[in-house]
Amino acid sequence: MSDALETQDPVTMLSTPIRLDYDFTAGVAQSRSLRGYAEGRFVGQRCPVCKKVYVPSRGSCPVDAVPTKEEVVLPNTATVTTFCVVNVPFAGQSIEIPYITASILLDGADITFMGLIQGIPADEVRMGLRVEAVWVPKEELGPTLASVKYFQPTGEPDREISTFREHL
């Protein structure tokens, strides 16, 4: 028999750090879309079947499962369709809490994406708020949505919620 269990200080935990290195590729279609960010503009893609404009786009229409090759340059202006005040610290966070993340519907786009709202007190952010993108300085632009620093209010009147009910 073994006396392994009779020790005063049995091993109960095991540390097994794991590191894996990857070399990603964005693929052709997504790279086209990402290049827009590197150039400081939003480039959406239109589905040839349903005609909806996707931004950001991974290169396909999720409904029709076809490549979205037609590019559409979209403006910097957008509407906040809904939002959340984030007050939770988590790993990898780069912004001071609390902050506002919002569903951003670019003018001319048919889907929203999450964006950061600044330049307005948290308790004044509202559904329907009109905002515009503020990009990082030109020398910091890259092929990533992180090229958009944040969105700030334009001062235009809010959009009626009923006009964007289809878009959260």
Partner: protein, 362 residues
């Protein structure tokens, strides 16, 4: 008028009616997962003269660790267009098991058509390191054993048992690569004899470079149809007349590595030995495993093994097993075989094995 043969398992005959795969490459940089899958899925629809609206059930096989992020199967769904909402499922296994889950679903009788697909890119990460994470996390994975060395343990056990020689391994590789010259989707195709191959150096003895599968990026898709409707799609559907899968113990030191009891059991359940086998597509990533598996499957020398070139010619992880089913089905559909065996494996050194018999209607 042909009638669908009665399957050994289940009650409803199910057939493979179309199959497509992306030409396998070492690194497909031009396409993300969705771009890799979209043309393949379009092609299986085109072959079957169907659209996504004809599909009643969708099932895929993939693993998050190849891409290094959670939920890779979720974004891949953009290549399928599951709208209006569909019955859909995913196995974190080779897509051959997605085929199995689809076959089970089709037994229910209230749905007739399933789309199965799998995808995997080995080029994004260090595959040897990634696959070490399949091992027992307490006593094996911390040593980071690579899968070539683990496979070599099995090959050595075969040699010690007198079941095969290094010349035999080279023979499998030589034949596979020569056959691959007729396969436009293969990645490694050449005409090198055994003597030439035996001059290569060992990666982990007794395995030389030619005994080891290439690193591959790839994807494959397939359509299954239940019942006589399959005859409306294709003249010679590849009927799944028997299918079964089994798993073995995980610890290598518990198993007899020179045998594959899970394959033998699955083959028995699938009825492999109940008739002549014209063609077998065997998911043997390492050369010695073809010899081991052909024996475990109970195949005779009359069976043509891996006419596609097999995994030694192209080995996209998570799609590789499904491709064996597709290649075997193609031999039925094109009339060169009337009874074929398809085999898929999952896990370290053949831990889990799936076997099916595919037949043409008589």
């Amino acid at each position: 008028m042909s009638t669908a043969p009665q399957p050994k398992q289940g009650t409803r005959p199910v057939a493979i009616v179309s199959f497509a795969q992306a030409p396998t490459q070492r690194r497909i940089e031009q396409a993300n997962e969705v771009e890799l899958l979209m043309p393949v899925i379009s092609e299986v629809y085109a072959q079957a003269n169907m659209t996504k609206d004809d599909v009643d059930f969708v099932c895929s096989g993939s693993t998050d660790y190849l891409i290094g992020g959670p939920f890779s199967f979720v974004t891949a769904l953009d290549a399928v267009g599951v709208w209006p909402p569909k019955r859909e499922s995913h196995v974190e296994m080779d897509a051959a098991w997605a085929l199995y889950e689809s076959w089970v679903q089709l037994q229910e009788g209230d749905l007739d058509v399933a789309l199965v697909y799998g995808f995997g890119k080995s080029s994004l990460g260090d595959l040897q390191r990634i696959l070490a994470l399949q091992l027992d996390p307490y006593t094996m994975a911390p040593l980071w054993p690579d899968q070539v060395s683990l496979a070599a343990l099995q090959a050595q056990a075969m040699i010690d048992r007198g079941l095969a020689t290094e010349e035999d391994f080279a023979g499998v590789a030589s034949r596979s690569r020569r056959d691959a010259m007729n396969n436009p989707n293969a990645q490694v195709a050449n005409d090198l004899d055994v003597a030439t191959l035996l001059k290569e150096e060992y990666i982990a003895s007794p395995l030389r470079r030619h005994c080891v599968p290439p690193l591959s990026d790839g994807a494959a898709a397939m359509i299954l149809v239940a019942g006589d409707r399959a005859f409306d799609v294709v003249d010679r559907p590849a009927w799944i007349t028997g299918i079964d899968h089994r798993i073995e113990a995980h610890a290598f030191g518990v198993r007899d590595l020179a045998t594959s009891p899970s394959t033998t059991k699955a083959a028995h359940m699938a009825g492999v030995g109940e008739g002549d086998v014209d063609v077998a597509e065997i998911h043997a990533p390492f050369a010695h495993q073809e010899i081991l598996l052909a024996s475990a499957l109970g195949l005779s020398s009359a069976t043509t093994l891996n006419p596609s070139g097999g995994p030694l010619a192209a080995n996209p992880l998570m799609a590789g097993g499904l491709i064996r089913f597709g290649e075997a089905a193609n031999r039925i559909m094109d009339g060169t075989a009337s009874r074929a065996v398809a085999h898929a494996t999952s896990g370290p050194i053949l831990q889990q094995n799936l076997v099916a018999v595919l037949e043409a209607a008589s």
